[in-house]
């Protein structure tokens, strides 16, 4: 009998809530349709409950202490089990009608297009650039594919980029508006009414993954995840705007790509060796060079919007030269790593070749570097290919 009393108590609460919500939420003539639909939905739910509850009890997923139930059954399902769908169908549609009453009266949802916009904003063509460092670092250390690797790779493939570029596009709206380059492969203009939903979407898609990955690792993982998430937000949010602080902008941007690798190493519990540190340093220099060179093409629009960057401050020519030098140092650094690391030095060459023709670029011709920037995006795939070959070689040498 106890179950019946428990069920009646919850049904009573649901019924009161359902009647109150329906009374407040229904417009003229809507109430009768509401209750008819509730009846139809309950009829369908009752049939589904009779069938599937019997199946579930038959499969021994759960059972009841027989002294607590009435004993009346539909199939194997005790009559009290129909209380769940009944309470749900009495209360929830009322809540729904009440919550959507204003919208039905004319207000249109302004969330339309949020997800496609967010995907476009996250630069799918660059997703691999953050997922790959994580997956490679972790797989090469643990040498097995476990759930942490899968979850982490997915996180750094999509949610991470959604947050990084989503937040960026919200706070960059003004300068993007003046930049014809945005809106296509390299970024998207985000409509102002989607700004707040975009920030929420970034938070909702990132926080659970960060918590799960933090739980899977120790202090090293917590620190690296915190640095990674902070760099993502600090790069563009109002107040911090690291992207407008010369040098700090390139450092933060490079952190975006190197930190996934560090997180992967931390989660895998990698040994810290000089070779590994040199590798990460070279990767970091590569990232700084990539950011600095990317900023050159935006000198004009950034200046018009009053946005500073390493390129607007030190000028197009010196930024290009800095990028070339950074790539050169990164390549030379790889020569100091254990075999087969030195092979990776060759990867610096195409970047230098791609960038060097702009050695004498000026601020007024800076926009022309966009041609090289477009090549750069595809160059990364070639570099990824070479890096993968080196990793496979390394895998073979150490097994």
């Amino acid at each position: 009998m106890t179950y019946l009393w428990l069920a009646l108590a919850f049904i009573a609460a649901a019924a009161v809530a359902g009647v109150v919500f329906a009374g407040r939420g229904a417009r003229q003539g809507e109430a009768s349709k509401h209750w008819k639909a509730v009846g139809l939905a309950f009829a369908a739910l009752a049939v589904l409950t009779a069938v599937f509850d019997s199946v579930m009890i038959g499969m021994e997923l759960f059972h009841y202490d027989s002294s607590h139930i009435l004993g009346l059954k539909a199939g194997l399902a005790p009559i009290e089990d129909f209380a769940y769908p009944l309470a749900g169908v009495v209360a929830l549609p009322g809540l729904w009608m009440w919550l959507t009453r204003r919208r039905n009266a004319g207000a249109q949802s302004n969330l339309k297009g949020l997800v496609p916009q967010a995907i476009l904003a996250s630069r799918p063509v660059s997703w691999i650039n953050t997922a790959y460092p994580f997956a490679a670092a972790m797989l090469l250390t643990t040498r097995e594919i476990d759930w942490v690797l899968i979850v982490g790779t997915f996180y750094f493939l999509i949610p991470y980029n959604l947050a990084m570029y989503g937040i960026n596009d919200v706070f960059d709206y003004e300068s993007d508006l003046k930049n014809p380059r945005k809106g296509g492969i390299e970024g998207a203009l985000l409509k102002p009414h989607l700004h707040r939903p975009m920030l929420w979407l970034a938070a909702i898609t990132n926080v659970p993954f960060l918590l799960v990955l933090a739980l899977a690792g120790g202090p090293a993982a917590w620190i690296s995840l915190t640095v990674s998430a902070f760099a993502v937000a600090a790069y563009s949010v109002a107040g911090l705007r690291f992207k407008e602080r010369p040098v700090l902008d390139s450092l933060t941007s490079s952190t975006h790509f190197v930190s996934p690798a560090v997180v992967g190493l931390a989660l895998a519990g990698a040994d810290v060796t000089p070779g590994l540190l040199i590798l990460l340093a070279a990767f970091f220099l590569w990232g700084m060079a990539a950011h600095a060179f990317g900023a050159v093409q935006d000198i004009e629009p950034d200046r018009q919007a009053g946005i500073g960057s390493i390129a607007t401050v030190i000028g197009a020519r010196r930024t290009v030269r800095l990028a070339v030098v950074l790539w050169l140092v990164a390549g030379l650094a790889m020569l100091a790593t254990p075999w087969p690391g030195p092979l990776a030095a060759i990867i610096a060459v195409p970047y230098i070749v791609n960038c060097a023709p702009y050695w004498t670029v000026t601020d007024t011709t800076a926009a022309r570097t966009n041609v090289a920037w477009r090549r750069f995006i595809w160059l990364n795939y070639g570099s990824g290919f070479l890096v993968t070959l080196i990793f496979i070689l390394q895998w073979g040498l150490t097994s």
Binding site: T2, A37, L61, D65, Y84, R103
Partner: protein, 116 residues
């Protein structure tokens, strides 16, 4: 330990979301309100479960198709997923029924106009 039950629930949830997407019933009608209704529904049912478990009425089975992972005493990891499915199923049925009820008179009126 089996994942059949959990997999079936996730499959069921996917089907509900496909219906929702196809007919713009719930999340695809008003995402914010739908999220709120879903959260309230799942929490309400979980509270009910907790009361039943506390009173010693609900007992977990040892079925081979369940993972056997518990998130609280007598509360398997599948339970919140099932409650999510139940809530989605309820709301898809209700919003679907509303859609049907609103279409019927419209169609009757159309037929009458054609006959006239």
């Amino acid at each position: 330990m089996g994942v059949l039950y959990l997999a079936s629930l996730l499959f069921g949830i996917s089907c509900m979301l496909l219906l929702d997407h196809r007919f713009r019933l719930f999340f695809w009608h008003d995402a914010k309100a739908a999220a709120m209704v879903t959260a309230v529904g799942v929490l309400f049912f979980l509270g009910w479960d907790a009361a039943g478990i506390g009173l010693g009425i609900f007992l977990r089975g040892e079925g081979t198709i369940a993972t056997g992972l518990l998130i609280a005493p007598e509360l398997p990891i599948e339970e919140p997923v099932f409650l999510l499915f139940l809530t989605l199923c309820t709301m898809v049925l209700y919003t679907g029924a509303r859609r049907l009820l609103e279409r019927l008179p419209a169609r009757q009126a159309e037929r009458e106009r054609e006959n006239a």
